[in-house]
Symmetry: C2
Subunit: 518 residues, 2 copies
C-alpha cells in the first residue's frame, strides 16, 4: 500500500470518526465514544517516507475482492435507513404509498407491505416496522445472492478444508464471543472457508456450553467412525476471546466488563472443562485438542495460545500476528515464511512441546496457516480502515439467535448468539440487547432479532420441528423484553434453512401461515 | 390367591372407592370420579368356586416384597397429611411449636423449620409450606434408605442387565408418558432392574424429543465403540403409551385428550422419526431397534407392538399380557412358558418376521421376558388392589422435572417430566400442573415440584452447572405459573445427584447458599 493511498484512507477514516462523534454528541449520549483515539501508532506497521505497508505474504487480490464484498453487503443494509429518511419527509404526501414503493423497488429491490403504508396519512408511517422489514429483506437478499457475491473470493481463501485435514483435523469447532466485531472471524480474520468441517457457535464471553459441545463432539466422532474415515484425524476446539488495544477498559468484552484477564481465564476454564468432560465420559485418550485465540478488535490481529506439553494454556504466552507482521514486513516472502515458522517452532520449544494427542506438527501447522492468513487481514484493515477501525466499538444492525447464518459473516453486521432456548441463552441475549440499547434504540430504531434454525430436510418432521423451535424462541425473546416489545422496538422474525442447502433460507413468520417466502 | 384373600382385597378396595367418592362429593368437584366402576370383570382372571388366580409363572415372594416396599413408601408420604391434620387443630395452642416438633419427630422422623411454627399463634400455620417441606423430606428419606428399602426385591427382579444383553441390547431407552400411573414401569410393571443399560425419560404423551434422543444414542454408541465392547449389541428405543380399559374416554392419556388412537399414532410417528433421524445422519444400518408398548393403567397389563418385517409398527397388532395370563393361568409352568413362546413366535410369523437389524431372536426374547415378568404384576394388582386399581385416575403427590430419580419409581407417586428447560418442556409441565389443579390444589394443598438434575462428579464444574440449571428451571417454573406461585400453591425445590452415586441426592435450595443437606 503506498503512502498516497494510505493518506486517502486516513482522511476517510477521520471524516467517519468526526461524523460518529457528532452523532454521539447530538444524541446526548454519555457513554464514551467508540471512535478510535487519534494518533495512536499501529502496532504492526506505520508507513512513512521510504516505508510502505506491503507485506510479502499478503494476498492483495483477495483483499480487494473481500472489500468489494464488504461494501456490497453493508450497502444493502445502509440503504434501508437512507430510504426511510427520505420517506419520512414525504409520509403525509397524497401519493406517499406510490412514492414509497417505487423508491424502495428502485433503491432496495423490494416493495414494502402495502398495509404498512396505506394509513400513513392518519398516524404517520410505522418506521420501526419498516426498518425491521427492510433489515430482514436485506438478510434474505444476502442469502439469495450468496453465490454471486462470494464467488470472487470463496475459493481463494487460503484455509480450505484440505488444509484443516492436512493439519490433522476433521473438525474445527470454534466458539468466538457473540460480539458483532467477531462475526467476520472465518472469512476475514482467519481467511477460512465455511465448510462442513468447521462448526461455529458464538456465546457471550466465548462461554460455550460444555454439555452441548460434548454432544456435538460425540456425534462428529461417531459419524466418522461409522463412515470409516481416517482415524488419525482429530477434533480441535477453539475459544476466541477479544480485546481492544486502544481502549482496553471500554471496548473489550461486554460479557466480562471489559476485563481482559477475566475473559481469558474464563475461556481457558471452559476449554479445560470440555476436555475433562470428554475424558471422564469416554476416556482420557479421547478428549479433543484445545486452542485459545485472542482477537484485537481494533486491528483484527490475532493471538494464538497453544497448550504446553502438559496441556495447560497460559494467559500470557501466545503467538501474536501483529508482531509477526512487523518483524517480517520488509522481507522477501520465503524469508518471511521461514521467520514465522521459526518463531512458532521456538515458541513450541519454550512450551516444552505441545499438549496434543500426537499431533504436534499438525497443530503447529494450523497455527502457522492462521497466523499467515491473518497478515492479509491486518493489511486489509490498514488499507481499507486506516489501520484501525474507525468505529472500534459496536455497530451491529441486528441480532441473530439460534444457528449460525453461514452465508453471512461480516464484522459488526450482527450480534450472534448460538442457543436452543432463551432460558439457557438468556445471558447471551441480555448482553446483545444491552449493546443495542446503546445503539439502535437510542436512535429510536428498533432492534431486529432474527431467530434462525437449521434442519435436515431428509428427516421427516425435522423442518417442522425447526419452525416450532424458532417460533418458541421468538415468543420467549418477546416475553423476556416486554417493554421493548410493547414499544415496537423489538421486532422478531423466524427463519429456517436446510443444513444441506436445499432450502437456503425461508422466513416462516411468528406463528401464522408458513409462507416459505423470502 | 385364594377366594378368601381376594374377597378381603375387594372389600378394602370398595372402602377406598367409597371414601374417594365421598371426598369428591364433599369438594363439590364436577369432574368424573376416578374410582373404578364396580362389577367390571377382570379381563385376565375372575376367581370363583374352584378357580383361583394363581398363575404358575408368578413370583409370589417378589410380589410380597414389592408390596411391603409400596406400603413403606406410600406410608412416608401419607403420614405427612395425617400429621398436618392433627397439627391444624392445635395451631393456636400455647405450646404448639413444641407439640408440632415432637409429633413430627415421632411420626415423620424430622423436625419442621422453627420459623415456620413460631408465628402460628398470630396468623395460623402456613400449611402449604409445611406440606411441601414434608414431601421433600419424605423424598429425601426414600433416597437415604433406598438400599434397605429395596434390598428385599432389587436383585430378585427377573429382568437384570444380563438379560438385556443376552437379548442383544446394550441400552434400552424407554420413554413412557409423564403420567404418574406409569412411574412404576421399571420395577413393577416390567420387573426390570434400574441400571446403566436402561435410560428412562418420560414426556407428556410419550412424545420424546428426537434431537435429544439422537444425542443420547450417539454418546452411548461412541462410549461402547471406544471401550471396545461387543459390537453385536444394539440400542433399543421403546415408547410407552397408556389407556384405561374401564374408563377409556376419561382416564386415558391427558396429553392426547384420552384418545387412544391418537396416543398410539403419535408414539409410532415419534419412533419412526427417531429412526429416520439416525439413519439420515449416520447411515441406514445404524438406526436403533424400535418397540412400542401400551399400558392398561387400570390393571398394569401391557401390550407389545413389534415392528414387522419392513420395520412398520401397527396400532392394532400387538401381544397382550392379560390375554396370555388368561390363556395360561391353569397350566403347569413349563407348558405355560411354551404357550407364551409359541404365541410370540406365531405373532412374529404373522408380521412376516421382525424389522430389527439382524436381532429377531433377541427382540423376541426380550418381548417374552417382559410379557412373563408382567404376569407377576397382573397378579400383584389382583391380589393387592382387587384386580383393578381402586383409584384408576391420578393420585400423584408431587411433580419431578429434569432427570429421573432412579431410586424412587412407584405408580401414582409423582408425575415425571424429563426436560432441560421449561421452554422446551412447557407442554409436559402444563399437563402435569393441569392434573394437579384437579388434585392437590382443589383440596387447598400445594403442588410440590422437585427439580432434579444429575451430574458427573469427576468433571470439574459439572455439579455447579447442574445446580445452576436446576435453579434456572425452578425460576422458570415459578414464572410459568405466577398465580399458583403467588398463592403459595406451587412450592419448588432443587436437588442434584451424582450419576455414579457418590452424592445420592442433595437439596440445594432455590438460589441461596448451597447447603448440601438432605
Amino acid at each position: 500500500m503506498n503512502t498516497h493511498k494510505r493518506q486517502m484512507a486516513l482522511r476517510r477514516a477521520r471524516d467517519t470518526v468526526a461524523h460518529a462523534m457528532a452523532v454521539a454528541r447530538g444524541s446526548g449520549a454519555h457513554t464514551v465514544s467508540s471512535a478510535a483515539p487519534q494518533g495512536l501508532a499501529h502496532p504492526a506497521c506505520v508507513p512513512g517516507p521510504g516505508r510502505s505497508c506491503e507485506h510479502p505474504l499478503v494476498d492483495r487480490d483477495l483483499n480487494a475482492a473481500l472489500h468489494r464484498y464488504e461494501q456490497t453487503i453493508r450497502g444493502r443494509f445502509e440503504a434501508i435507513e437512507e430510504v426511510l429518511r427520505a420517506l419520512s419527509a414525504r409520509q403525509h404526501d397524497q401519493d406517499f404509498a406510490h412514492q414509497a414503493q417505487s423508491m424502495s423497488e428502485q433503491r432496495l429491490g423490494f416493495r414494502w407491505p402495502d398495509e404498512a403504508l396505506d394509513n400513513a396519512w392518519v398516524s404517520g408511517v410505522d418506521m420501526a416496522r419498516l426498518y425491521a422489514h427492510g433489515t430482514f429483506r436485506a438478510i434474505g437478499r444476502c442469502i439469495e445472492r450468496v453465490d454471486a457475491d462470494q464467488a470472487p473470493w470463496r475459493t481463494r481463501l487460503p484455509v480450505q478444508p484440505d488444509v484443516l485435514r492436512s493439519c490433522g483435523y476433521h473438525t474445527v469447532d470454534i466458539s468466538p464471543c457473540a460480539d458483532g466485531r467477531l462475526q467476520g472471524l472465518l472469512p476475514f480474520i482467519l481467511r477460512t472457508a465455511a465448510n462442513e468441517g468447521v462448526l461455529l457457535k458464538a456465546y457471550a464471553g466465548a462461554l460455550f456450553d460444555i454439555e452441548n459441545d460434548v454432544s456435538d463432539w460425540s456425534q462428529r466422532q461417531l459419524e466418522r467412525i461409522v463412515a470409516g474415515h481416517d482415524p488419525r484425524l482429530d477434533y480441535l476446539k477453539v475459544a476466541v476471546y477479544h480485546f481492544s488495544s486502544s481502549s482496553a477498559c471500554d471496548q473489550g468484552c461486554a460479557a466480562h466488563g471489559s476485563q481482559d484477564h477475566v475473559a481469558i481465564a474464563e475461556a481457558i476454564a471452559r476449554l479445560q472443562g470440555l476436555h475433562h468432560a470428554v475424558a471422564e465420559q469416554f476416556g482420557p485418550d479421547m478428549a479433543p485438542d484445545l486452542m485459545l485465540m485472542g482477537l484485537d478488535t481494533d486491528l483484527d490481529a490475532i493471538r494464538i495460545h497453544l497448550p504446553d506439553a502438559l496441556g495447560r494454556i497460559h494467559a500470557d504466552r501466545f503467538l501474536d500476528s501483529a508482531s509477526l507482521y512487523r518483524e517480517t514486513v520488509g522481507m522477501e516472502s520465503r524469508r518471511a515464511l521461514d521467520h514465522i515458522r521459526q518463531a512458532i517452532a521456538g515458541h513450541v520449544n519454550d512450551l516444552g512441546g505441545l499438549g496434543t494427542r500426537g499431533n504436534e506438527q499438525g497443530m503447529q501447522a494450523l497455527a502457522g496457516a492462521w497466523l499467515v492468513a491473518n497478515l492479509s487481514q491486518i493489511e486489509y484493515v490498514i488499507e481499507h480502515h486506516a489501520g484501525r477501525y474507525a468505529v472500534i466499538g459496536h455497530d451491529e444492525h441486528f441480532i441473530c439467535a439460534g444457528d449460525l447464518l453461514e452465508q453471512l459473516q461480516l464484522r459488526n453486521q450482527f450480534y450472534y448468539a448460538h442457543l436452543d432456548t432463551v432460558e439457557e441463552g438468556a445471558a447471551d441475549l441480555d448482553v446483545g440487547v444491552r449493546i443495542f440499547t446503546g445503539l439502535n434504540t437510542r436512535r429510536g430504531l428498533p432492534l431486529p432479532v432474527l431467530v434462525h434454525f437449521a434442519y435436515a430436510s431428509a428427516v421427516p418432521g425435522s423442518r417442522e420441528r425447526a419452525v416450532q423451535r424458532g417460533r418458541r424462541v421468538a415468543a420467549a425473546v418477546q416475553a423476556r423484553y416486554p417493554d421493548l416489545h410493547a414499544r415496537g422496538l423489538l421486532q422478531c422474525e423466524v427463519a429456517v434453512s436446510d443444513r444441506r442447502g436445499r432450502e437456503p433460507l425461508s422466513f416462516v413468520g411468528l406463528g401464522g401461515q408458513d409462507t416459505r417466502s423470502h
